[in-house]
Every structure is written in C-alpha cells, then in structure tokens.
C-alpha cells in the first residue's frame, strides 16, 4: 500500500523547531507546537496540555541553559497518532534527576513544578542529562 503511505506522508504536518533564546521564543514555541498538534487533530484540552508542557520545558532550557531547542513533531505507533515534544539544551545538566522530578523541588527558588508537572501532563516522558553537557527531555501525547 505504498501510495496510501505516500499520501499520508504528504498530508501529515511537518515538524517545527524553535530556538528558545528569549521569553518571546517560549511563546513562539508553544504557539507553533499547538498549531501543529491542532492540525494533527488534537482537541482543545490536549492542545492546552501540549502548549503548557512546551512552555514549561522551553522555560527550563532558557532559565538553566540560557537557550535551547524545542522540536515538536507528529509520531505514529501502529494505529495511534500523537505528538512528540523534544527539548534539548547544552546547559549545565541536572545533577540529581530523581530530586528534580520531585514535586516542590527547585534549585532556582521558584515553585519548582516544571518537570514533575510535565511528566503528569504528558503520556510519556523521558529525560536524560549529562553534567556539563546538557539535558534532553522527550515527552509524547497520544490522540485517543
């Protein structure tokens, strides 16, 4: 069924990538990410969830690493369609990921709800970090 797959490839929305190096870029990342998810058929609630997750991840990169990249793209898993949000930065890295994933923990004196909140919002959540090299967060939301 190559022609069906080819047709779906054409129709599927492209990915978006935003360099987050200012607070305005956080807004751009979440608006463009939201628009991609909307084209992929997500409803209002999920769109708010995805936009919020992008906002939190983008702000983390800006705050701790001065800049980072947000990529949002469509993903498939058998019959399921979803979006993937990837936030990468080349910042200091997170020394203790377990601690950072605890509610209320923050190294910057803020509310500290960033990472645990994103983990709750999204369906899948992976984080990897290397001290002195940076952090990558990948989170996915699936359409029901």
């Amino acid at each position: 069924m190559n022609h069906v797959k080819a047709a779906r490839e054409r129709v599927r929305p492209p990915s978006i990538r935003v360099r987050v190096d200012s607070d305005r870029a956080i807004v751009e990342a979440r608006q463009r990410g939201r628009a991609l998810a909307e084209r992929a058929g997500f409803g209002l609630t999920d769109l708010a969830i995805i936009a919020t997750a992008i906002s939190e991840l983008a702000r983390n990169a800006l705050q701790y690493a001065k800049w980072g990249d947000i990529v949002v793209r469509c993903v498939e898993d058998g019959d399921r369609m979803g979006v993937l949000v990837m936030a990468t930065d080349a910042g200091p890295g997170i020394p203790n990921i377990t601690q950072a994933l605890q509610d209320g923990y923050s190294s910057s004196g803020s509310l500290g709800l960033g990472l645990p909140g994103v983990k709750r919002l999204m369906d899948e959540f992976e984080i990897s970090s290397e001290l002195g090299h940076g952090t990558t967060v990948i989170a996915k939301k699936w359409r029901l």
Binding site: R30, A48, L113, G117
Partner: protein, 125 residues
C-alpha cells in the same frame, strides 16, 4: 502596553488579549500595582479569557500581583480561566490557592464589591 487596563470606578480591569510573554506578564503586574497607587483603586480584575496557557511562571506572576496589590490596599481577582486551561493547570499542580478567582467579569465584579465592602468595615484585616 500589551494589555489594556481600564479604570472602572474603584476598580482596574486588565483584559489579556493575546498570548503573553514572561516580560509582558511582569510589565502587566507592575503596571497594575502602579495604577492602584495612581487611581487609589480598591480592586483589580485580570481577565485571562484569551490566555492560551497558564504555566508556572504566569501563576507565580499573578500570585505576586495579588500580594503586591494587597500591600497597597487592593483586592485582586482572576477571571476567565478556560476549562482546558484549568485542566492543564490542575495536572501541572497549579491550584492558585492563594489567589481569588471567579468565572467571568460579572462574577469578578460581584466578588470585588463584597470584598471591598468587608474591607471598609474591618480595614485592619
């Protein structure tokens, strides 16, 4: 100013119309606190109906606004949080516990009327 602020009697009404950056939110907070002084306002309403996302930074800034306005004698109420935004906030763990919220502008004005009346009777609290 990214957010228009109207003076309605004793109250200030700020209506968010687009997505706000962190700086816009900070500017709004400072502009409202400044105007509370200039106009001797007793109440502040922030209408966030058009706000796409209420993340931890926005919640923190609105909380700071409410505290700063209170220090200058004014009550603050946030109105217009949309259902999908409310859902995302709860998932994120943002309850806005310390901040007064109301459904819409009308409810927000009623709330302020009650609070300001109470404040006049017992100003020490």
């Amino acid at each position: 100013m990214a957010v228009p602020i109207l003076k309605q009697g004793d109250y200030l009404i700020a209506t968010v119309q687009t997505a706000l950056s962190d700086r816009d939110l900070g500017d709004l907070r400072d502009a409202l606190v400044d105007r509370v002084g200039r106009f001797r306002s007793r109440g502040v309403i922030v209408d966030v109906t058009a706000l796409d996302v209420m993340d931890s930074y926005a919640a923190r800034t609105l909380r700071d606004l409410a505290h700063m306005a209170r220090l200058r004698g004014a009550r603050t109420v946030i109105v217009g949080i949309q259902p999908e935004v409310a859902f995302a906030m709860v998932q994120l763990g943002l309850t806005l516990d310390e901040i007064a919220t109301a459904l819409d502008l009308e409810e927000g004005l009623s709330y302020l009327d009650e609070m300001v009346r109470a404040d006049r009777r017992a100003p020490a609290r």
